[in-house]
């Protein structure tokens, strides 16, 4: 049997479980033997594990193409069977899931390779070489979980992966759990991980409720049966409930308003993690979920509208915050939230192809941006390291720590880096232009498709288009701001002057990503005869109208983007920021900028409205109610003291006072009477006889005279 035959007969579909088990194998190898392996070997094993999953994904996609996109399910194991509840682990290979598989494993593999170089240096800066292995263990686990998520054939398996990636996210955000983002000893990173997990759990809570509702109304959790049952008996209330519950899950996982707060903090994780999990793959799971549940969302317009609005609001809201950030990764984080908003808005409006298209291109360029940012940060670290060791003693590590804390990620510390890091600069430019939506970069095509859909559906989804356009404008602005601040102007610190370019192991994967960021638009060009992604997805989500390029929409968005970049040049490029100078936007925008800078005080709001009340409640319940009241007061004061009082009452007044007194008096009386009666017992026989006679007389008398 040759290759194409195997593809045509669907033999390759049987490989689907390998998607999960190849990364798991890599993880286990590193976990068990990694301690004795060199860093290179560990990294290679992990990258191979991920890369082989990519190969399998390609094979699956190829086979699927060969069988014209016909859905294939591969039963793997039975899981929970109770009565009507039949939950199995079945792999699902269709055009939607293969897109996700390809993105996850493809971008994932590149990031694995990049991470070999990145982590090599990172663990040395943080002085804990052992953790290198752990990073790749987690990373492989993440790929496995993500594969479970996208390849599952039921909501439950999707949920399993959903939770699994949440765990990996927690572990990787808190990877440097004993530091903060500046490399100081702190619990900050661990807190960030916890925050992410908990915010995700809130989303999971919604997802769980959606699952329960689905099961009890449609009798199954398997996608096709659910959709069949839902379309057969479309009960708007039930479907609204399901979709809105799911939306809670989406807002958690895909970082939408109001649960997005964890994503900026998630930047505490090493940069490859930010790129892989918190930009390219995991956070898009929510988008995937909505597309997957398209048959449900398309049944109720109101739910779709809520989804679209949440996406659009998030897109704009996060973009405004991004404008006010100074940390290079924070800007990208808010940008990610904003872009996720675009996707969610798109899928909310039913523009599934546009959403998935943007998902893919975003994965490319945002991963590129993050990784480049990582490269920049490491470059700065190298410069910092160079300076510290150039001036001082090599062994004087303590002095090094006592120095003023240096933030290698703060853009105010950078400037003119294009000189020191030219490769990174060009790579970053590619990513920036893609994100800003400049023709002909990947972002242009995907974003325009979303905007076009929003324009076309403005009737049903009013407001979305304007919000998104505004967000697109802001996007271009903050990216321009970033470019000017980081790469142009003058070096604002010594460190920036000594920044060093990254090694090829990091830059080569970036180049691959850059190519994808530039040409990724080819996936779904809006011209007749193209629409490749659209046609591909048609196998799964039904017929899609391939929209032609609308010059109006494209023109407006391009003009907006260019305008934004021009503004940013005016503010940041023409007069480069000086050392210690406040942001030039601060003056014209005033308190608005303060809001942006401080993320609109959302974290503080959560703290005041949710966290503090919760802690107060917890304190009240545990200290006051449970312990002081119920445990101490009720049990000790009421029950125990009451019992004691009763015991005392019964023992002293009642027992001693009454019962005992009676007994005492009785005894005393008996004693006294016997004392006198004792004299009768005088031992004289005659006295006894007298008594007998007395008795006789008395009894006889009684008998006689009774």
């Amino acid at each position: 049997m040759n290759f194409s035959e195997a593809a045509n007969t669907g033999l390759f579909f049987q490989l689907a479980p390998l998607l999960v088990f190849l990364p798991l194998t890599g993880m286990l190898i590193n976990m068990i033997f990694g301690g004795k392996m060199s860093e290179k070997a560990v990294g290679t094993v992990a990258s191979l594990a991920s890369g082989s999953a990519f190969v399998v994904s390609v094979l699956l996609a190829y086979s699927l193409n060969a069988v014209h996109g016909e859905l294939h399910t591969i039963p793997f194991a039975e899981w929970i069977h109770i009565g009507t509840l039949q939950l199995d682990w079945t792999f699902r290979v269709d055009s939607l899931s293969t897109v996700m598989m390809l993105v996850v494993s493809g971008v994932g593999t590149l990031i694995h390779i990049y991470a070999i170089g990145y982590m090599h240096e990172d663990v040395r800066f943080k002085d804990d070489i052992k953790r290198f292995r752990r990073f790749f263990v987690f990373l492989n686990l993440f790929i496995a979980m993500m594969m479970i998520l996208v390849s599952g054939d039921s909501y439950l398996m999707l949920f399993v992966g959903w939770e699994g990636v949440g765990l990996c996210s927690f572990l990787l955000i808190g990877f440097w759990y004993d530091f903060d983002t500046l490399g100081q000893k702190s619990t900050a990173n661990a807190e960030a991980g916890k925050k992410a997990f908990i915010a995700n759990r809130v989303g999971d809570f919604g997802f769980l409720l959606a699952i329960f509702t689905t099961f009890w109304h449609f009798g199954s959790l398997q996608f096709d049966s659910v959709f069949e049952a839902a379309t057969a008996h479309p009960d708007p209330v039930v479907i609204s409930a399901i979709t809105l519950f799911m939306l809670i899950g989406v807002t958690g996982k895909s970082a939408q308003v109001p649960l997005y707060i964890w994503l900026p903090d998630a930047m505490a994780g090493p940069t490859p993690v930010s790129a892989l999990i918190h930009a390219a793959t995991m956070v898009t799971a929510g988008v995937y979920l909505v597309v997957r549940s398209a048959p449900l969302y398309s049944l109720v317009h109101s739910a779709s509208y809520i989804v679209a609005m949440i996406g659009a609001v998030t897109a704009l809201f996060a973009a405004t915050i991004a404008v006010g950030q100074y940390d290079i990764k924070k800007v990208l984080a808010y940008s990610t939230i904003s872009q996720l908003g675009f996707m969610v808005a798109a899928v909310g409006m039913g523009a599934y192809v546009a959403g998935i298209f943007h998902l893919a291109t975003h994965a490319f360029f945002k991963a590129l941006l993050f990784l480049s940012a990582g490269s920049i940060i490491l470059g700065m670290e190298r410069g910092h390291h160079h300076l510290a060791h150039g001036h001082g003693d090599h062994d004087d590590a303590d002095a090094h720590h006592d120095e003023e804390v240096f933030d290698p990620g703060d853009m105010r510390n950078m400037g003119n880096l294009r000189k020191q890091m030219p490769i990174t600069f060009w790579l970053y430019m590619a990513g920036t232009l893609a994100l800003a939506g400049i023709f002909p970069f990947a972002g242009f095509w995907s974003k325009d498709e979303i905007l076009l859909d929003a324009k076309l559906h403005a009737e049903h989804f009013p407001g979305v288009y304007w919000l998104l356009s505004l967000a697109a404008f802001m996007t271009a602005f903050y990216m321009g701001r970033q470019i000017w601040m980081v790469f142009f102007g003058k070096e604002r610190t010594e460190v920036a002057k000594h920044a060093e370019e990254s090694p090829p192991v990091m830059t080569v994967p970036l180049m691959v990503l850059a190519v994808l960021a530039v040409f990724g638009g080819a996936l779904n060009l809006p011209f007749d005869g193209f629409h490749n992604l659209g046609h591909w997805l048609e196998y799964t989500i039904g017929h899609v109208e391939g929209l032609p390029l609308d010059l109006g929409v494209a023109g407006i968005s391009t003009v907006l983007a260019l305008l934004a970049i021009f503004f940013s040049w005016l503010l940041y490029g023409k007069n480069p920021l000086k050392e210690g100078q406040p942001d030039p936007l601060k003056k014209p925008l005033g308190f608005l900028f303060t809001g942006m800078e401080n993320k609109w005080f959302v974290d503080e709001g959560y703290k005041a409205l949710v966290i503090t009340p919760f802690e107060k409640l917890a304190k009240f319940l545990s200290i006051d109610l449970d312990w002081n009241f119920w445990h101490d007061w009720f049990h000790d004061s009421v029950l125990y003291a009451g019992f004691k009082w009763l015991a005392k009452f019964l023992s002293e007044p009642v027992d001693m006072g009454i019962i005992n007194a009676i007994a005492d008096k009785l005894a005393e009386w008996t004693q006294r009477s016997s004392e006198s009666l004792r004299r009768m017992q005088n031992g004289f026989v005659r006295s006894y006889a007298l008594s007998v006679l007395l008795g006789v007389v008395t009894i006889l008398g009684y008998l006689l005279f009774k």
């Binding site: 004792r678 009768m680 017992q681 005088n682 031992g683 004289f684 026989v685 005659r686 006889a689 007298l690 006679l693």
Partner: protein
């Protein structure tokens, strides 16, 4: 022709005299004799009833009483002898070891 009442009255008088003997005398031997007198008083009554009722059962009873009295006297006197040996007295007022 003597009414039974008279015999019973006689019996009662003898009995009371016997009882008085038990109560007022200190000599154990005399107390004993008084007891015998009381038994006799009872016997008189029994025989009188027997005769009045024309039934021999009463006399049989008297017979048994005599037997018992004989046995009692034998043991009782033996006791008195034994007490006398240890106390050297038969004054019952000196024998009060059972005093409470």
């Amino acid at each position: 022709m003597v009414p039974v009442n008279y015999y019973i009255a006689l019996s009662a008088i003898l009995f009371i005299i016997g009882a008085m003997g038990v109560l007022v005398r200190r000599n154990a031997l005399i107390i004993f004799m008084s007891v015998e007198l009381m038994l006799n008083a009872a016997n008189v009554a029994l025989v009188a009833f027997s005769s009045a009722n024309n039934s021999l059962d009463g006399q049989i009873f008297v017979f048994f009483i005599m037997t018992v009295a004989a046995a009692e006297v034998a043991v009782g006197l033996a006791l008195i002898v034994a007490i006398f040996r240890s106390k050297n007295s038969i004054n019952v007022d000196e024998i009060n070891m059972l005093k409470g």
